[in-house]
Each structure stands twice: as C-alpha cells, then as structure tokens.
Subunit: 439 residues, 2 copies
C-alpha cells in the first residue's frame, strides 16, 4: 500500500480550524474526507473536504492559491474537484490523491501561512449532495457471522453454503436508487407470500429492515478483460463510506429464488455524505480476519502476505434507532447494535480482486459494499432480521416500545469511526434515514 | 400505446435510398432504428438512423434543414441527437420520438423534396459505437420454457419455483461490461468446483455459453419512490435491441447460491448496434402470452386489458454459430436455434412495471433484457445449456464437429426481425461476438 502514515497521521497535528481539534470530532486534520456540497444561493455543486465543523471549498481554495506550493499532482487533483462529483478525482492515481491530501494538510495545519487562502464554508450553511456518480453498485455478503445467523433462520443445521469460505459472495445492486443520507425512505410495496397465505399479494412491506454496511469506492479502475491483482487492489480503493442497505425481508423471501435479491433491495440504498480516504485509514489497518482452524485458505489469487498482514480495517460501527415516540418525548436515540468492520471474512481488497477476476471492468466511482457487518456477539448483529430472529424476539426499547422490524417514522442512524492508541480518532460521519409510509 | 401504425407503417412506402427497398433488408423506411456511429477522420460520435445500407447523420441533416417542416418537437428531438449517446433523445417523450420519426420518413420517402438536405453516411464507412450510456442493466428470466428447461436439469420433478408465475423474475446485471456487438469475448476465468473435485479451482471457464435475449431501453423514467402503472409502461419503452448474455455455466453453478448470478455473467454482455423503436414495432404487437389453464392470473398491478391485448411482440429470432474450422473452409454459419419473443411468459411492460413497483427509479437509457428467449420446441432453446442439456447431448455440426459449449474462436450471431402479412419486414440487425482465449 502507498501510505504515508507518519506524514499525514501525526496525531499531534492540530488545525487552525478550531472545530477540528474538539475531542470526539469525526473530522480532525488527520481525516480530511471528501464530499460534494452546495450552498444556498449558489447553484453549483462542488467538491469539499470536511474539517471540524467546516467544509473546505477545494476549487475556490485552489483558485485563491492555498495549494500552490504543493506541486503539479496536487494541482491536477484540485482541478479534478471542479465538477459536481468525486469521479474525476477518483479517476486519478493514489499519488494524486495523496498529493492533494498533503496540500490540504499543509494549508489547514495550525500556523500555516496558507491559512488566508483557504475558503471555508460552515457545514451549517451547506447542503450535502450525493458525492459520486455511481456507475455500478455491488453488494457483498462478507460477514460470516451475518451469513451464519441468516442461514440458521432457514437451514438450522447447515447455515453456510459450501462456497462461502471460497468466494466473497456478492451480487449486483441497483445504482440508480443509491441516495444520500437523510433522504426519506419510503416503505416499498412489493409482492409477498407469507407462509400462512395461499397466494401472494402486493402490499406495503411489513418486514422493513436496515443493514449496517461499509462501502468502498473504486478509484483507479481496470479495463474490460483485465483483472486487478490482490496486491494492487487495495491501492485502487479511493475511500470508504457508511452504507445502509435497506431491505424488505418479506419481498426478499418470496422473490429471491433462483436469481437473488432484486426489488427487496432496489427501492433505496443510503450512503453517508463523506468518503474517508483509504490513506486516512492507514493507521487502522490490521491483519485480515483469522480463519478458524480447518477453514480452507483462499485460492492463490485471493491470498497474499500483504492482504493477510494489512487487509483488515479496525473500524467501529454503531446503529441507533429513534422512534417517533422517542422523538416527541425528546429522548435520545437507542443503540440497537455495535459492530466492527474487522469481522469481515473477506477484505475489501479480496472483494475487489474477486469482482474483477473474470475480467469485469471496475470504473472510478463504482461502489462496492461489504454486506451486513455482523460480529460474533449478540450485540453485534447488523440488521433486525438477525437481532430479532425474524421478529421472534422483538427488541425492547427503553420507553416500553418494541420493534420486530421498522415502523413508519423510525429513524436509523449509522455511525463509524476508527481509534487506537497513538493515533487520532477519525470518523465516517452519519448515515441516516427516516421511514415514511407507503402511499 | 401511442402508436401511429397507419401513418408510419404503410408497407407501400419506399425510400429514395435504394438499399432501403431491397427485399430482406433489416432497415426499410418503416424501421428507422437509432444508433451511434463515427467515421474515419471524424472524432465525434453522433446519432444515426439506419436506412438500407446507409446511415442518416441526424444532426447534420437537421443542420441542413432536412427536418425543418416538421415542427418544434421534431426539432427538439433532433437537437437531442447532438451527443455521443441516445440518452438525451430517450429522455424526451414518446411524442418527441414520434415527431422525429415522422420527420425522418418525410425526408427519406421516395420523391421527398427534402432529399438534398439529408446527410447520409454509407454503413461501410462508419464504425458503430455503444449507443447508450447504460445507467443500470437488469436481466429478467421471463421465458417459462427456459426456466423450465434449466430447472429440469437441477430439479426434474419440480423445475419451476413457486414464485415464477407470479413475478417477472429478474436480477441486477452489470452495466459497465455491456459492450457493442463485435467486441471480442474473452473467455473468463473463474472459480469452479465440478462435482468430481473436492475443492474449487480458479481456471478459464470450460462451460462458456451464450443466451439469446431481447433487450429494451427505458425512455421516460420514473422518480424514486414512484412506480410505472402497467398501462403507461409500454409507452415509456424507447426501443428494443438484441442482447447476448454470455454466461459461464461452471462459474454460475458454484457461485450463485444464495445471491444469484454474479461473475458468471458480468464478464461481458453484447448488444446490437441498432435500437428499433417501440413505435416501429407497433404493427407486430400481439396479445400477451396465453397462460395455461390453471395458471394464476397476474396480480392486478401486473394485469390490464391493454397488456393482454397488445403486450406481446411477434419477433422472430435466430442464432448462428461459425466455428474456426467452418470459417477456414468458407462454410456458412450453422443455425443453432430459432425463437420468438412472443413466447415470453411476461411482457416487456410487465417487466418494467414490476421493476418500478417498489419505487425503484428507472432512468432514460436503463437497459432491461428479457432473459433467454426459449420456446416450446427443441429447436427454440436459446442457449447451449438447454440445447445440449448441460453437455450431455452435444450439437452435431454439418462439418462433423461437435459442440457442448463454446470453444475459442467460435463466433455467435444473433439476428431478429418482424414480418407479417400486410406489413413491411423490419429487422434488428446483428449481435455478434467471437470467443477469444483466456490469457
């Protein structure tokens, strides 16, 4: 991996942007995630970088000379921020991304002489936009805990398919309905056939669920017919974001055989507004998931020393629920579950290499998501299907309410962050959505 | 449906373009399919319309005044042909598409005073391009004969899933790897695990197959959270094209559970260069598939009198194979199978309405494909998996060769056309591809 841990992750760095130094902020100077925003009165959507409670207007700062000392690659990367999506930036190289990151740090660091040339917009004055034109969206299924928990509901004695430990299982998702965090989630209608009924009916989904996932964007792509070697895959990932893969379980149960999930997923998928770069996550890289004794090793094209040593990411995740009653009473959101991206059976690099192993071309801005991030404990189940065992064990909320699945008005909030001794905590922002009734 | 059968399908119409009047041409003046082309020396890709052996350069003809008498809608539609894809034209309305069609006919008809203003490019001098920027690609599974034939290979007593007669089964495909007819088809590598082996291996696919499909493009789309009523769906289809959904059956068999086909399909999908408009197909509309006695009727949102009366399309299809030996010997391609789009259990309109029934947004240029078009007879099986019963009954070729699945150097050619008494035959062009070895 081309990472510059010491250079851009010095935990002692502070910024002259006060909000970046507040304990617990998602966006210290060590993070610098990319997004797209617009401001009232200004039509144009443009690329921004989060710093504390502010957004760096990248192109305006470039125009003001904030990155001038940083050289050609940073200039090219800043120029790629001129449009309404991150795609042109993603289509450059890790070296470009890194150069712009260093230029941003140099301009934002406490005492920087470039301070006056940085154009900031308060987050409070900005409206975030979908940051990427997503060509294709692929959803994986890479938590063995999730696959086992879900499999047990259907096949108690044989929860995992024989292919699971050999293939990062995934399927093509729907790109058109990937939306920005905060977009209302209309309860979908769909065909369902509960076991108690003889014939299917077309009704609003009764088993609406969320799925806590971590997404990652292809930066550098590959041509059709070529594939990405495992030791190159990681460097081609531009960055990570939180994903909520909303799911209609009743629709899924009736439709999914033999070709997999379709309308149970494609009504909406939410992503957080900020893409945390792969480079920013470098200090939190850890070994890939340790396979249990007796588990097969991955085939050679999906295995490497580098992947075993640094393929994982220690990223903590949380899911909170706020019901309409809780909102009215002014109560705090309830923590439904916690998780960690390190529990994935396959690494992001393995997913990308597998995806391209047949010659399928990945394009800059293509989104891949991990699948539900569930861990080994009951507290770390990443969707209500698992948490409530398909409704058999409802969740008791502090105010006396119960939930088997999501009800209209419920708000889901995904959050994620990385922290460890000797590094600065960096966060992924929030991915939220409120369920609104079917029409 | 907004169709103008009499106005634009008068079979007696001839064109001053001689090639359009040749018996058996795919592209008489009653067809006028859209594509994108470029010419040597000219960088720009631009929209063209096939007429005989010529291509109308739409924008150049507009600039020369060829469509001037036709009014505002035709002018707007012609202006939408200025870019390198059909998407802007597709994003207009059926009324716009129809106006441009009428303007083209008026300029191309024998005796037209506009003749001198039409800019033609011989097909022989043009290179065709992928005509559409495909946002999302969805593949259905709507031939009950195909589903039954394939199902029997795995479950002889119970070939069809319980949902089949209630849902137009489909799955999300990969948009990035949809390519133009003629693009070489590199044999994909993939994980396979034949029953005779204990562990999977990563090898070039040994069971490479084609699938004869008919695709259709969304024109007018729908917003996220809305759905397309069945009686509006058909009018939102811009047009149809031939699709070859190349498939690696050994990869598919090992990977597809539980989330469906993924890398077995995403290595490449070929489409023909010409998009035949829905309006051009109007004379060939027929009643939807007649369900067998005892089959359930579709749920109300998937059923309408209009769909029952005119939902089908009588479109004949053929598949030819040319092996390297046949090519060297100067032999003609061998007809592997024939088919007809009328044998689909679900209509294109039902597929579109189902797709959007959960609120999933369809965008102009989104591609939907029918799934393998197989009919009730042995001659009308649309893929080698069915034809050879997974290799158990190889095809005997006239030169003594046999085929269970595709071999390197094999060329597949899909063709399709509509014809009937009292109408002019119109064709869909060719969708071809040559298998090249894995690296």
């Amino acid at each position: 991996m081309t990472v510059h841990v010491n250079e851009t992750h010095d935990p002692s760095l502070e910024s002259w942007v006060a909000g970046a130094n507040v304990a617990g902020t998602d966006f210290p100077i060590q993070n610098l995630p990319f997004g797209v925003f617009k401001t009232a009165g200004a039509e144009a959507e443009r690329v921004g970088v989060a710093i504390g409670d502010q957004i760096v207007d990248v192109l305006a700062s470039r125009d003001a000379g904030a990155f001038e000392p940083a050289g050609d690659e940073a200039a090219t990367a800043a120029q790629a921020c001129a449009g309404p999506t991150l795609n042109p930036l993603m289509a450059l190289t890790p070296s470009h991304w890194s150069a712009l990151r260093r230029a941003l740090q140099a301009a934002l660091v406490d005492g920087s002489e470039l301070r006056d040339k940085v154009v900031l917009v308060p987050m409070a004055d900005a409206e975030m936009c979908l940051p990427v034109d997503i060509g294709d969206y692929t959803d994986f299924y890479c938590s063995i805990y999730h696959a086992t928990n879900v499999g047990k509901l259907f096949r108690p004695d044989n929860p995992l398919m024989p292919n699971y430990k050999h293939i990062p299982i995934g399927y093509h998702g729907r790109a058109s309905s990937v939306v920005l965090s905060g977009t209302p989630v209309k309860r979908p209608k769909g065909q369902v056939k509960p076991p108690t009924e003889d014939a299917p009916s077309f009704v609003p989904s009764r088993l609406l669920d969320y799925e806590l996932e971590v997404g990652f964007f292809a930066g550098t792509g590959n041509e059709l017919g070529e594939s990405v070697p495992l030791d190159e895959s990681d460097a081609r990932i531009f960055g990570f974001c939180l994903v909520n893969d909303w799911s209609a379980r009743d629709v899924q149960g009736w439709e999914y055989q033999p070709l997999g999930p379709f309308l149970a997923k494609s009504f909406i998928t939410s992503i957080a507004p900020w893409v945390v770069t792969n480079e920013a996550l470098a200090p939190f890289r850890i070994p890939a998931f340790e396979r249990a004794e007796g588990d097969p090793q991955p085939l050679p094209h999906l295995d490497s020393e580098q992947n075993r040593k640094l393929g994982g990411v220690d990223m903590q995740l949380e899911v909170h629920l706020l019901t309409p009653k809780m909102r009215e009473a002014g109560e705090q959101p309830f923590k439904l579950s916690t998780g960690n991206f390190k529990h994935m059976y396959w690494t992001a690099g393995q997913m990308m290499t597998h995806h391209s192993s047949n010659g399928c071309n990945l394009r800059p801005g293509d989104l891949m998501a991990s699948g539900t991030v569930s861990g080994p404990t009951p507290e770390s189940r990443g969707c209500l299907l698992e948490i409530t065992r398909r409704g058999a064990e409802p969740v008791d909320l502090p105010n006396g309410e119960q939930r088997k699945f999501l009800q209209d008005g419920d708000e889901l909030m995904l959050s994620g962050w990385c922290e460890k001794e000797g590094a600065k905590r960096i966060g992924l922002g929030l991915c939220t959505g409120v369920v609104v009734p079917a029409e």
